[in-house]
């Protein structure tokens, strides 16, 4: 598999930074919504898992999902999301990365992207156990994380995938993805 070039790295981090800012505003909104609409807020939670899979679908190289996730989290942490975001970003990005790795970085469809989101969601749950967010009554626990899984699949699988498809139409992806063998063979025509 191809190694990351410096431009891949910069693009990945740039995507992370853009998401990081969006997530910060999302977070502010979320904080306000939180006490009022406990169910709706879980349905929006998938946004947090989007950045890693999005970057991977776009660039299609190993390491990108983790890096983008960390970058987004660092930025979010910097502009006031708090340092915890950093740990969450790292663990969630790692989960997504491992999932893509288990498909040998060869699958870029809706299902795999969605599964990456779900993997991030479980990783987040693991941290919540320590933070204390998971000390809920079992029905509440089930509803909370069940909805979250659905939302994770929706955001990373469907939304991230669709945005990447729209970007493919602009042709930007041609210049940042590994070039296929066929492209080289076309040179001989």
């Amino acid at each position: 598999m191809k190694r990351l070039k410096f431009s891949d790295l910069l693009i990945t981090i740039m995507i992370g930074v853009v998401f990081g800012i969006t997530m910060k505003f999302w977070d502010d909104l979320y904080t306000v919504v939180k006490p009022m609409l406990p169910i709706a807020r879980q349905l929006l939670y998938g946004m947090w898992f989007m950045v890693g899979p999005f970057a991977f679908l776009l660039i299609r190289k190993p390491g990108v999902a983790l890096l983008a996730s960390i970058a987004a989290a660092s930025l979010s942490a910097f502009i006031g999301g708090g340092f915890t975001v950093l740990i969450y970003g790292f663990v969630q990005g790692l989960a997504a990365e491992l999932l893509f790795a288990s498909f040998r970085y060869k699958k870029f469809g809706i299902v795999v992207a969605g599964l990456a989101g779900v993997a991030s969601c479980f990783a987040g749950f693991f941290l919540d156990l320590f933070y204390g967010y998971a000390n809920l009554e079992s029905w509440a626990l089930f509803v909370k994380y069940g909805l979250r899984v659905v939302s994770a699949f929706l955001f990373t699988g469907v939304f991230a995938y669709l945005i990447v498809r729209a970007l493919e139409a602009t042709g930007v992806t041609n210049l940042i993805r590994p070039v296929s063998k066929e492209e080289y063979s076309l040179l001989d025509n």
Partner: protein, 511 residues
Amino acid sequence: MNNHQQNSIMQVSNLRLKFPGESSLIFKDLSFTVSQGEKVLLLGPSGCGKSTLLQVLSGIIPHSIEVPLKCDSIQLPESWGFVFQDPDTQFCMPYVDEELAFVLENLNVPRDKMGPLIGKALSSVGLPLPEQHILIQTLSQGMKQRLALASVLLLKPDVLFLDEPSSLLDPEGTIQIWDSVKEVAAEKTVIIVEHKIDHIADWVNRVVLFNDVGEIIADGLPEEIFDQYKQEIAEYGIWYPQVWEDYLVSTNFKEINTLRRQENLSRLKPQKTIIKLQDFRGYRGKIEKINIPQAEIDGGSWITIIGDNGAGKSTLLLSLMHLLRTTGQYELNGNLINLQNRKKSPPNELSLVFQNPELQFVTNSVFDEIAFSLRLIGLSELEIRTRVMSLLELFHLNVNEQRHPFQLSMGQKRRLSVATAFAHGTTMLLLDEPTFGQDARNTFAILEKLEQLRSGGTTIMMVTHDRRIVENFATEVWTIDQGKLVKMCASQNVSEQKREEKHCAGIIHTT
């Protein structure tokens, strides 16, 4: 040939290259060698692949950008510097001094040597800032380009690649840049892509001529090329030293001139005034950046706006479009506009072509981009197709019509953005340097089309650094100096009326 290869500093043989997802090749078996110390000028129509070739020769393609290519052999220079076409994307640090220091850091220059080197580099490109720790973002386009050159000079490169470094500079800045290039590069190998060649045609010692499909059609001494290949050069619409003189005696221009004279004679009653400004000021943030004590714009006139980089020309256009905060009196077609109203929308009568074309694109293909305004007026698809096709033809945008606007060359993007404004159809058209980075054919095509609109009653207001355009097409010249409209005068454009022109000469011929 053997001799040639011995002191060659870079060479490529049988280069084949295509962009991913495209079906046709940009280069097909191109071979090219440059010897140590040569000063090479690459000339060719817009979109023929000049920028791409520079990137291949410097190794940017495929080292930093992967583009499918193959060649029998390639030799890259060991130390080189590159100035790019687009001033906004060459910097990675927020401040001027940090950006220059970044280069020095890469070269492992010790910290205490950095300060003096930075100062020297800045003054050598005519950018002696009183305070070096200022945000790059607040510099004008032209100032940024000079900064880019300064940072490249710090690399002390053997080979200099220059991709239209002066296309956004004012006349004085252009001379300064080429002077400093000439000074620092006397011993170096230099490869230049530039459309406007006045200042370098007699400095380079080799000219390479491309046709529109990326083949080399001539290669040799400048005098020889400009002399022997005059016909090809004209055919492909490339700039050459005498191009304006030839154009001024061409049938196209003579026709324009005749029509204009008739218009002047028949114009007995005064023209209708469309815009009246009084004590009009435009602001960026809280700071006043443009001030117009008093001005009137007549219908059917062609106003060119000239002034140094950073003078406030772009700001003036944005202010007229209500895109910045403004104060004073602004009268449009006899109606006073309430400038205090925060939610004012751009006036329908006016249309603007931005200095940076990319941000103006709203669709995903070259075709849709032009069709967009036509669809808004509700034309039939058939009608739209014919109109779009004729505009694409007119502006020589003979690329796949489904290609995304971002995948065009610099000049093509520029032309596409101008073409969209033509499709729009308005009372007054504002253009921010529409001809920069264009080859001769396209420059004249744009100018002729603008003249056609003007004689049809559209008012043109255009920012340009090209004095020949000012002399030969404008009816009026506005000079902006440090944020203030300091001079307005009739240009009387027609070449015979030299007396009138002398009257203006002081401001146009800044050199």
